[in-house]
Symmetry: C2
Subunit: 354 residues, 2 copies
DNA sequence: GCCCACCGTGAGCAAATGCCCAACGCCGGG
DNA sequence: CCCGGCGTTGGGCATTTGCTCACGGTGGGC
């Protein structure tokens, strides 16, 4: 900074800046006092900012990682990123992330809100911290089928119920497993009024809460019995690094098309993109690649993760492929809610792709 | 600062502040993103400023004494104060002050401007530094009579001529001495069309440049032969500490009524107050009391002095009488051009008091 | 010496901001 | 339990701000 300002200019800038920013006078007053045109005062003040004569500092609380959040937002066009710092204990990390996600939900939910819910260990921890001040008439609806272990706390239906309990809202369960035996069975399921209605409801949600899954042998899909280690290994071989609602991506964010996709009962990524705010959570140490793939796939608009994952994702993104977004800093190109392209209404996308 | 903000609040403030001040998003965008009303965002941002979460710093050039200037402005209701720091050599100080005063004039003068001019060593040094970029059709007119030594460079007429030379403007001389023998002689002089017209012109000036005189044995009035040491001593005994245009004040800014006043050919203080911008200069080490008295008398709206005098004046004001103005800091009560009370047009004041 | 390109300037307008006020909900008192 | 007061909220408007654009002046090029 500090370009080649002559002494006089520098002095004028400082005087103007002081009067404007410290004394809170208006530009018009300054224009009169300094005998300049109002637009000129405005240009000079802008110059003062650009050249560093005026410095605006935000005293961030030390526990916040605003830099990381800013970089995540900038790189991946997120509407928001929340990075929780916490000790090395995986438990603590998950709880911290869950707490912040819960806090975020509290702020965003109103009477009448409809929330599409995915699965995952971290997402499953969210209800524990979800305590809206007053009773909230919100609807929580499963956005994907459940696992064989029906009452597992990582099960979408279960998370919906817990969230609804916490705020006095309603839970809409999806009576279907995440993966069925075949495409035919899936189509039969979707033909059922109850299943179709539930999925349609979740497709029209104003907010979604989803977990980001990995593809290691110990991932949630395996632990919950939705997929076998063999199936996950096959996905890995096809390049899959992670999933959202059972939709798998490679590290570049490209969908991994596999037989599983046709057996999946869940919102598609295209449908997810129609949801204005998609909150994704992750906290496990084996997640960086999964998170990166998901972010690149688009659709996620708010990311809640722990600091270690945040740094790992950024590092990974820095090395591999697509590189950073041009204006990685500054006002940046802001994509408030995920995406531009897909213009079709939720309903069309639902019947089309799902 | 830093009130008792809860952690959550603090965090919200920091996030908002960062997005607003660093990323330069609008309050409306933030309201949408954080799901708050726009007015609430505005209140939170204000809170962030008040509590010090946001700090705006003006990187003042080291040679500026903005603090001193601010205090002078606040204490004495000045529209502007310019403090020049310079070494202990009196010459250097005077030149520095003169230079800044000249610079100020350059900024304020336009074609058609009329400038009332007083006398003094520092004021006399101003023309040397007066170099407006392009030729300026301004009129410089003596606001007080001259000294016996007609061509002294501290003489108003001489200063007018020099200023006019520097910019291609016109000089209007006042053909009269500062002090005449008696009130009767003064009245005769004022009855003369040339003298009356000149004084009237200066009374209607849009800007005045005056020196602040002291009452020591070596003051300008004595050096230039306007008054004798004996006369100045008598003024001192009456409490006079300084003068503007030959009008003497005590340390509280009260006019010192003395026989001299009736023999003076110059604008009265009341008339001076009608002039929108009155620039007063001083740089000599024996001036603090004179400056203080003048400032308290009101009428001066822009003060150009050296750092030593600035500090001395403030110290003196701190100890003696009237104490500091209530809102010594902050947005302060701003009196853009000297005063409120005297409502009579320049002409009335002129014929009345002069 | 003349012409052209360019920078800096200020009018005018649309957006953003600050602020007032009425309505609401919460809390303490009766 | 009901009521009054106080703090908080967001709608709506006046002001302030950012920005575009056409203009005039200036310096360089021919």
């Amino acid at each position: 900074m500090r370009e080649d300002l002559r002494q006089d200019d520098y002095e004028l800038l400082a005087r103007l800046a002081e009067r404007y920013y410290i004394d809170e006078r208006t530009q018009e007053e300054l224009a009169r006092e300094f005998d300049l045109s109002r637009p000129k005062v405005q240009r000079l003040l802008e110059l003062a900012r650009r050249t560093g004569v005026v410095t605006i500092h935000v005293q961030a609380p030390p526990w916040l990682r605003l830099e990381l959040e800013r970089e995540l937002r900038g790189r991946f066009g997120l509407a928001d990123a929340i990075v929780c710092s916490s000790g090395p204990a995986p438990e603590a990390r998950r709880e911290a992330v869950a707490q912040r996600a819960a806090q975020y939900l509290e702020r965003r939910l109103h009477d009448g809100s409809v929330v599409a819910v995915g699965h995952g260990r971290t997402a499953g921890a969210v209800p524990r911290y979800f305590r809206p001040g007053n009773r909230l008439d919100a609807t929580f609806v499963s956005a994907m089928g459940g696992s064989p272990r029906i009452d597992a706390p990582t099960n979408p239906n279960e998370i919906c119920r817990a969230l609804a309990d916490r705020c006095g809202g309603r839970a809409e369960s999806l009576y279907a497993p995440a993966y069925v035996e075949s495409a035919e069975v899936r189509d039969q399921l979707l033909a059922q009024e109850a299943v179709a209605a539930t999925l349609e409801l979740s497709a029209g949600a104003s907010l979604a809460l989803v977990g980001i899954g990995a593809t290691d042998d110990d991932c949630t899909m395996v632990r919950s019995g939705c997929l076998t280690e063999v199936e996950v290994a096959r996905l890995r071989r096809q390049g899959a690094v992670g999933d959202v609602l059972g939709n798998y991506f490679d590290i570049e964010g490209r969908p991994v098309s596999s037989p599983h996709q046709e057996r999946l009962v869940a919102l598609s990524v295209e449908t997810l993109r129609q949801i204005p705010t998609v909150v994704a959570t992750a906290s496990e140490p084996e997640k960086p690649a999964a998170i990166l793939g998901t972010l690149r796939a688009g659709g996620v608009s708010v990311l809640v993760i722990d600091e270690a994952n945040a740094r790992a994702v950024l590092e990974l993104a820095g090395r591999s492929g697509a590189g950073p977004v041009p204006g990685g800093e500054g006002a940046g190109d802001l994509a408030p809610s995920g995406f531009g392209p897909p213009p079709s209404p939720a309903r069309a996308a639902l019947s089309g792709v799902l």
